[in-house]
Symmetry: C2
Subunit: 312 residues, 2 copies
Amino acid sequence: MSAPPARAATIVDVARAAGVSRQTVTRALHDMPGINPATRERVLAAARELRYHPSRFGRGLVKPAARTLGLVVGDLANPYYGELASAVLGLAAARGWHVVMAEAAGAPGLAAGADAVIAFTGTEFPDPAVGAPNLPVVEVDPPRPHPGRARVVFERTAASAQAVEHLLARGSRRPVVLDVTTPPGGSSRAAAFVAAFRTRGVEPHLAHRTSAFSHLPAGTDAVVAHNDLDGFRLLRELHEARRAVPREVRVVGVDGLAVGDFCTPRLSTLAIDLAEVARAALDLVLELTEAPAGAPPPVRVVEHVFRAREST
Amino acid sequence: MSAPPARAATIVDVARAAGVSRQTVTRALHDMPGINPATRERVLAAARELRYHPSRFGRGLVKPAARTLGLVVGDLANPYYGELASAVLGLAAARGWHVVMAEAAGAPGLAAGADAVIAFTGTEFPDPAVGAPNLPVVEVDPPRPHPGRARVVFERTAASAQAVEHLLARGSRRPVVLDVTTPPGGSSRAAAFVAAFRTRGVEPHLAHRTSAFSHLPAGTDAVVAHNDLDGFRLLRELHEARRAVPREVRVVGVDGLAVGDFCTPRLSTLAIDLAEVARAALDLVLELTEAPAGAPPPVRVVEHVFRAREST
DNA sequence: CTGAAAGCGCTTACAG
DNA sequence: CTGAAAGCGCTTACAG
């Protein structure tokens, strides 16, 4: 009927089409009292015809708007980030905040649409704060912390030591620690395991995250995977190679995924309470927006916990 | 140093603090040419001190802003929704769109922050379009489609028939179909399986999604789970009960999760290409905003595929 | 029941 | 190099 408009219809377009003033359009659209029913119908029809949808910006300028939190996460297809996102979304909804999300590559765009950003990617990513000075940013377990920035730190020392203790007590002597960095051993999670093994007089072999079991040193009797997903893959490979888990080889994951409880054998893992992580990150956002300028960046620590299941 | 401000600082606060005009503040903040370096430093310092962060609304009104897509999903801790969200985020980033996300409960708030909404929850959820007339909404596989609304329909007939054929060919005769609805059998995915079994002269038993295997009829030799996660749980229960899969009992999931490939036994499943689903949904959003008023709601169909792995 | 005016916070020409 | 003016789309008092 009408040609597609070159630009989106505004309130004045609707007013003109209905032959009324802007305020009357507002009244009709918001079901406000004191408007002639016939007038309202006419306005609503015009709005429909023009596909009028009020501009978020016009409205935001004039009414108190919901805060919008930016959330940068790693690969959402990994349930780890899904669980975290779910926790953040829940807390944000409870506070009436909106959440704009992006995976690492989309981080730079976020600043334009958010009042504050939480970044949790596991890998390095484009800084969301470039071109957005003074944007409050909270980093979660950053591989390379940005100095002066608020962050949630993951503490792994105790849990790694516990896991190592557990492996050694069960007889493992030739462990391998898998890692994302090149050379392996550069990430804080791998470093925590290596330190724990060394403290107990065992020198672990280091290999890259993606190494197949068949390429690890002969005699390997324990593997610390980079994360649970990698742990699953490893268990699968061991199953196909007919290696008994945990008798011949023990496997530890990192992340504490809920699905790890349903695979066979159940994957032992370093778990972290993602609901607590989400809460800490949101608290920091709040703290950041209220702290005086120049205050030292706030930090929260969340502890990993070793959860022994069947694979060790 | 300064007391926390009652309201966020605006550009005029910064201008006043630095003793310049608003335009000069804009120039300093955006690294524009033609500004005295000393002036710029003074402005930047004032902005930092006041924690000034430009309002999205003021800016959005005056510069062409990124489109913002609302995405309502089911439980993100389920990798199924994570994979879909990941696909949507990727496509949106490629088009320069922002994405505000919410889980089902947060849907009503979304309308205020989005230009269009894609809803994919698997369950019923509060309508995001209340109070937001003319908001373009695309529903993905809605349990109860909203009449007149654009949607992506999941076609399961062929894939269900294939799965059923596969089960019968391997000797299953006493199948159970698990479902979310009360009574079971009300969802389209369960209905497709039931119809497929009946076509082949087999009457499946229906039970609620959460039923333990031990509560299913004696002699049950095949189970169609509501989704892959339920399938994993079932496999785990069968493992603990020492029932051989697939020899004694065959299990089929629905969703096609990537992790299903790493659990043992690998879960056979009805898979759907979530990247294709995401693409279809985004296409519909575009179509919706360009179609003339009163046009019939566009629909896209995406086919499930039966993926036989080890559990059948 | 309806409309003219003011103002939210910002940027973009345009003057000086 | 810096500032006064106009205007983006909307809502909220205030008049009539």
